[in-house]
Symmetry: C2
Subunit: 527 residues, 2 copies
């Protein structure tokens, strides 16, 4: 823990450009009036210092390719670099910038780097960033309509806009019984849907029957559903993770779902919640929504659609078919903060029956009562989510939609998918590798083929390849395991990624693979 | 709904200063490269447009006193002002600024106005704003240590700093079994504490006994606890809202708690969670922590301390005694986004036993596995909270602590309390009013005394006074009800508030009160 390894690679040290530009413009300042009273929100001081921060951040983006994408520090590195306690006296903005450059940035994994291909992307954009600034500028807390009417109303409107881009059925729009809401994350989206579904059925069968409630999803479903079940008190043994395999490209098989449901009913259990995923985390598997919708309907179950990543692609007509059948869903979720240029956090959720959410999540203490809420003429988003307070997040989504326009957003998605296609072709053309599942969106799942008779079928080999690639600092990828195979995940989705980054990433992968095959097994690869 | 009322008061129209300054500097731009490909994160375009946003926000603060503090729009006002769907083609930043001025700002309730005295404050500051900018700039998602080590490590360190300022016991520091974490809101803080406590006891008694679990708190406890109970599946009838009254200034009486617990035990129920509040929402009541800690210990219950608002004051030695007894608590929560100059959201939670949180909230899917997590040498904050994703929120708290220093933060709190004291003196000196509970921090609870034989003991009178004051746009206050009395709440806590704003607020209150007394009851007031 004593030796911070951020000086790991000399070319990754703070670029002098960034250091010079930011620090030369700084001057020591204290936030006081002449009477020596702290003035924490003086408009002119805000202007002066926020301009410096803008330059600092713009310089960061200018130099972002010089940093190792995955941070190379060791656990505990920062403890040795910062003092034990907060200062009594104020410090200068230079001191902060200095520390950000020398102590924080080495510990940052650069999600905005064009060489970031891990997990799923978390898009930043100029529009999204400006929206974050404006939201932080107003710094309102929009729990109820009255606490800032514009925050609620803009959210209602912008979620309708996005629903229309996705061609969601009318029942999800605010004009009827449904509507959209911005949650922090897909985890919160699935949790509130689960709670609404749980309480809807418990109101009928009585809360002491909670031990009979059963949830269904594929074994590829995001762990957020498991966590939501834990939180909501659904018994662990009633959370059915139905097995998938390569025969359906890891999508749920409707027959398997039907069978599980009838088995459970036959022993007195109560199926109540089915989660379909459009674009699973491991491999972008797409569950068959139309078939699942019928099953949910027949069994009076809540159908939640998790399209956290792939939902964004469905604004393009050629990808919209993946959510055909959403008419039968009760809730639909897409993370605008993933692949839709809206800075984290912005997870958009639509429900058909807002009253189900409100019945589960509303509170009405005296200190929050107001005429508008009492007369039921407004939306109070506090009753659609876990927390009470909420930021003015619709601003950034509104700005993304307006500053880019829907046609550009479609091109943005298409360009990433095209780049992923190119990468897939490179993998296919190299006989040492295999593509493991067919690519649907911008994720390529592949692996280095193991030598014949490899003990673990290439598990360690690919694990080592991932380690070699990521510790080079030149790109960052992540992995998954499908049917026991260790798989490399290459996702195109960072806003700065261009063709040259994808090609260079492939070069690095080839080099590291060659070195591994030679060093470890004396094998030149290929089957 | 057809007549947006934002032109309600002519002096509240967009100040021309704001319009001119911001719009004159703007130019039409599109975010494209020469190849006509969208470049959503070009560093130089970011710089240019973010500088414009800085000026827009600084101008907003410069003119903030010209807007009605409480938005005066009618429900549905925005629907008529915005189009039905997102544009296909990009629009300009001027168009956005123009709409923010003419359509959004009229619907904003100005939490940062110096004339904001409602609910509890939600502080913005230059340091907090800069921290938000930097966090949005990096736009990382810090679920696991590896996903950005600096985000996790800075949070651990800064939460230790703040714990030391609050003189929290060592068990809450990261050096042992405990530690701090930034939650979004106090609602999430109490929910995760409740879940950890629930699962700790259910691991012993079995999950089918959830119907026996009982939660205790005063009837003044924030509604967030009730909501947490709903979410966690605690039966409604097992949520004990113990009655308080003016004899204890609305604090919990330990004898009442003890009696309720032994009554429940005698019928086979299982007490497991006690929530103490330091500074209740209605009236800043302070529950007797030391006595409650003993009760919790004797009964093996989890003691959660909600000091969301008043916790900030406890960094001053003269107010620290309010949390004496925190040694016996299991979790302690303070909202740095309320009264500690850290932009929303930043709710700091400390626990003594982090493993209790992790056991309730962890998931470990393959696609998130990594060496650092597997070797148990790091904190993965995803397992301390409801959502998976999380922003780099420690940056803003770190910047607040460093750019201001603890002595200035203490002065900031003391200055607000002094201003509240001055306001209280003004109320006391006017025989038409009464202070309803003794002031402890920066909230004054008071009301206009009703005429003799007033039918509802001044309920409607004070309701009307609140309405008159808030619809003037000159200040914004909120209310509560204590023992059936309608109470006006005046909280000093906005960063820009100075003595003159408090005095002017009192003038408005006196004027509106005089008009009401004369108009409605022909009464000049006073008893």
């Amino acid at each position: 823990m004593s030796d911070p390894s951020f000086s790991y690679h000399s070319s990754f040290l703070l670029p002098s450009a960034l250091a010079c530009i930011t620090l030369a413009n700084s001057s020591i300042f204290y936030f006081y009036s002449r009477e020596n009273v702290l003035r924490p929100m003086d408009a002119e001081q805000l202007r002066e210092h926020a301009h410096k921060m803008v330059d600092f951040i713009a310089d960061y983006y200018k130099t972002i390719e010089t940093f190792p994408v995955l941070s190379q520090v060791q656990p505990g590195y920062l403890q040795d670099l910062l003092p034990d306690s907060a200062p009594n006296q104020p410090e200068s903005l230079e001191a902060i910038f200095d520390d950000v450059c020398s102590k924080i940035i080495p510990g940052v994994t650069h999600w905005q780097s064009p060489n970031y291909f891990a997990y799923y992307p978390s898009n930043s954009s100029i529009a999204g960033f400006l929206g974050e600034m404006l939201s932080a500028g107003f710094n309102i807390v929009g729990f109820s309509w009255i606490s800032s009417p514009a925050a609620t109303e803009l959210e209602v409107i912008v979620l309708d806009w996005l629903a229309k881009l996705l061609k969601l059925p009318e029942q999800f729009l605010s004009s009827g019984q449904g509507g959209g809401v911005i949650q922090g994350t897909a985890s919160e989206a699935v949790l509130v849907a689960l709670l609404a579904a749980r309480d809807r059925v418990l109101r009928t069968i009585g809360k002491s029957s909670i031990g009979k409630l059963v949830v269904y999803a594929s074994d590829q479903t995001h762990a957020a559903l498991q966590k939501a079940c834990q939180i909501a008190g659904i018994h662990t043994e009633n959370y059915r993770l139905l097995k998938t395999d390569c025969s359906t490209n890891f999508a749920l098989c409707p027959d398997v779902v039907s069978k599980a449901i009838s088995d459970d009913i036959s022993v007195g259990l109560i199926p109540f919640f089915l989660c379909a995923t459009i674009g699973t985390t491991s491999s972008t598997a797409v569950d068959p929504l139309s078939a699942l919708g019928k099953i949910a309907k027949e069994n009076d179950m809540w159908l939640h659609v998790d399209a956290a990543y792939a939902g964004s692609a469905c604004i393009c007509p050629e990808y919209r078919h993946y959510i055909d059948g959403v008419e039968d869903a009760d809730s639909f979720n897409m993370n605008a903060h993933k692949w839709f240029l809206t800075n984290f956090d912005c997870s958009t959720l639509w429900v058909k029956d807002q009253s189900a959410l409100v019945q589960s999540l509303s509170t009405n203490p005296e200190y929050l009562k107001n005429k508008a809420s009492q007369t039921n003429t407004v939306v109070d988003y506090k009753d659609w989510q876990i927390p009470l307070g909420r930021r003015f997040r619709s601003l950034k989504l509104w700005m993304v939609l307006r500053l880019y326009g829907s046609e550009n957003l479609q091109s943005y998605i298409r360009n990433h998918i095209k780049l992923a296609e190119q990468f897939e072709e490179l993998v296919v053309a190299d006989r040492r590798f295999e593509v493991v599942v067919p690519r649907k969106f911008s994720l390529v799942c592949f692996r280095l083929l193991p030598p014949p008779n490899d003990q673990d079928n290439g598990y360690k080999l690919n694990c080592d390849l991932l380690e070699a690639v990521n510790s080079s600092g030149k790109l960052f990828m992540s992995h998954t395991v499908l049917s026991g195979k260790f798989i490399l995940r290459f996702v195109v989705g960072a806003p700065l990624t261009e063709e040259r980054h994808v090609k260079e990433a492939w070069n690095v992968l080839q080099d590291k693979a060659a070195a591994l095959l030679e060093d470890e097994v004396g094998w030149v690869g290929g089957l």
